[in-house]
């Protein structure tokens, strides 16, 4: 569906993307995950045609659109801050893409209105068509933006931090709702996020980006369980790092076994409940490394000043070049 080949982009002196290759299959739901400045939004905007690459090609459905302007790419785009047209009703916002169509494809007004109604039903905003965006909540506005993008029957849907401006509860609801919508509509979709939880929950495949490069592409489970680089290990999920001969050992807070004769000892200096577990934080005896551990909350809460002895039961070893030298489960 989408084939990106050797996409590079600079902003002045600042290199934003170094040679990105990526293939997306029809109907896939892809997350571009990375910290700010990783190039994920730039990549999304290049796919949309809102930005143009310095070199490389963009193929959409087998067609080379590398130089095609955004208006002719037929791609739905949802912005972080909705970008709704404030002076138009919700229904007019949704029908906008149909009303600017010229030539044969132009639908009569009644048909455009009917289509807008249908899309508002799809995003569960039936009956709000006559309102103005200013009269809706953030979550509702983002759904209007989504309906507006879907109205042009795009060949793919691109979402730039679609939940970034919403509060936690609304974000969670909207996330679940978007996943269901994707199942229902089956449209090839790519969304940008810096929130690893969001990426792992929604996407079929996660593309982890850092400093203008793709670090790893894989199913959420694979990216979480088998990070290929120290960056992915650190950025996706929580990771403790221990210096070791020739590199670093990475292990998750829950990947430990408590043992009275454990090789490591944590001096607890902060404890709090994190959902179903106790989270204990502090410095390791000896190395002085900061680590976080998850302990079953069925037991007593760890005490401040207490020493917890443990062994990491699965861990990954990365050498100084960032290559993985030793797999999981030792």
């Amino acid at each position: 569906m989408i084939h990106l080949r050797g996409i590079t982009k600079r902003f002045g002196e600042y290199p934003a993307l170094h040679g990105i290759d990526l293939d997306v299959a029809p109907g896939e739901f892809i997350a571009l995950l990375g910290p700010s400045g990783s190039g994920k939004t730039t990549l999304l905007r290049i796919i949309a045609g809102l930005e143009f690459q310095d070199s490389g090609t963009v193929l959409l459905g087998g067609e080379d659109v590398s130089a095609t302007p955004v208006a002719d790419r037929h791609v739905g785009f949802v912005f972080q801050h909705y970008a709704l047209f404030r002076h138009m009703t919700v229904a007019d916002n949704v029908a906008f893409g149909l009303s600017v169509r010229r030539g044969k494809g132009r639908l009569p007004k009644a048909a455009r209105q009917a289509r807008a109604e249908e899309l508002l039903r799809l995003v569960q905003l039936e009956g709000l068509g006559a309102r103005y965006p200013g009269q809706l909540s953030g979550g509702q506005r983002q759904r209007v933006a989504l309906a507006r993008a879907l109205a042009i029957e795009p060949r793919l849907l691109l979402l730039d931090e679609p939940f970034g401006a919403l509060d936690a509860k609304v974000r969670k609801d909207l996330r679940r709702w978007l996943r269901d919508l994707h199942k229902q509509v089956g449209l090839t979709s790519i969304f940008v996020t810096h929130d690893q939880e969001e990426a792992l929950e929604l996407a079929d495949r996660v593309v982890v980006m850092n400093q203008g490069r793709i670090e790893q592409v894989g199913a959420p489970d694979a990216v979480y369980m088998n990070p290929e680089t120290p960056f992915v290990s650190h950025f996706v999920g929580e990771t403790n790092r221990l210096p070791a001969a020739g590199g670093e050992i990475h292990f998750r807070p829950h990947e430990i076994t408590l043992a009275a004769d454990g090789a490591e000892a944590l001096l607890v200096d902060n404890v709090f409940r994190k959902g179903a577990v106790w989270r204990a934080e502090g410095l390791l005896e000896g190395s002085g490394q900061f680590v976080e551990l998850d302990l079953p909350s069925s037991g007593e809460a760890p005490q401040l000043g207490q020493t917890i002895r443990f062994n990491p039961h699965s861990a990954r070893m990365f050498n100084a070049d960032g290559d993985q030298t030793q797999g999981a489960h030792r």
């Binding site: 208006a71 785009f77 912005f79 970008a83 709704l84 002076h87 906008f96 309102r131 103005y132």
Partner: protein
């Protein structure tokens, strides 16, 4: 709400009364001193009518020109960064600060038949100085900052994203402008137009040099008032002032009503 509605509304009313209403009321009182017949004779004399037409016509013309080009200037200031941007921005405000007579003299020097620009226009049969065209140019000059400063913040607030959204939905640049940008900044543009227009109607200093002041042809209403005053015809001056004031108020009220309606529509 900070000071409470009762207090702030009372203060607003008292202040407006002191600063605006009392001075204006004295004009009405002064004009009231003359009989209705005399009021009509002076206030609606052919010479006065020609002056109103000229003042309101050139002010409207200048307001429209400023609406178009002021929008372009505001656009460039908001959307692009370039070396010297702050200098350009300060230049926009200069007509606010410059004594209007200076502007008038400068424009006359430029556009008079022997002036820098006027000497090239003269052979083409285009007369600027001492015609309504010259008056309009002077009013364009003094009205520009009103439009630029009214539109600029709204344009900045609108952001580039809505333009990008329109483009992703297949809109051409022209459709994006006419259907998305223009309706959004319309109320601010109207405000800018209204301010430039109001300023133009009342403008005196910059116009009298370039207009030539021929009664019935290039004599603006504010000048007619001054002429009356110089002849100690105070009642006549106030009669013309009253007519101008009512006409201006009607236009400004209309513009305010249009804006209130559009604000309601946007649900803000």
């Amino acid at each position: 709400m900070l000071p409470g509605f009762g207090l702030s509304f009372g203060f607003t009313l008292a202040w407006l009364t002191l600063i605006v209403l009392i001075p204006l009321a004295t004009i009405f009182l002064k004009a009231g001193g003359m009989g209705w017949a005399q009021f009509v004779e002076v206030g609606f004399s052919p010479r006065a009518m020609a002056a109103y037409r000229l003042s309101f016509g050139t002010a409207a013309m200048a307001g429209l020109v400023n609406a178009v080009f002021g929008l372009v200037v505001a656009w460039v200031l908001v959307r692009y960064s370039f070396p010297g941007k702050q200098v350009v921005s300060a230049l926009v405000d200069l007509p606010f600060a410059l004594p209007t007579a200076v502007a008038g003299i400068a424009l006359t020097a430029l556009y008079a038949p022997q002036g820098w620009i006027g000497q090239y226009l003269e052979p083409l049969g285009i007369k600027v100085a001492f015609t309504w065209v010259g008056i309009s140019i002077a009013l364009v000059f003094i009205g520009l900052p009103f439009v630029v400063r009214s539109v600029e913040p709204v344009l900045a607030d609108l952001g580039r994203e809505v333009e990008e959204a329109a483009a992703t939905l297949g809109a051409s640049r022209w459709q994006t402008f006419t259907r998305v940008i223009f309706p959004a900044i319309g109320p601010a543009l109207l405000t800018g137009f209204a301010l430039a227009f109001a300023r133009g109607v009342g403008e005196y200093g910059s116009v009298i040099f370039i207009s030539g002041n021929m009664p019935g042809r290039t004599e603006i209403a504010p000048l007619l008032i001054v002429t009356q005053l110089e002849q100690y015809a105070y009642a006549g001056a106030t009669a013309i002032a009253v007519v101008m004031m009512l006409a201006s108020f009607a236009v400004l009220l209309l513009i305010n009503l249009i804006q209130a309606a559009s604000r309601r529509r946007m649900g803000a």
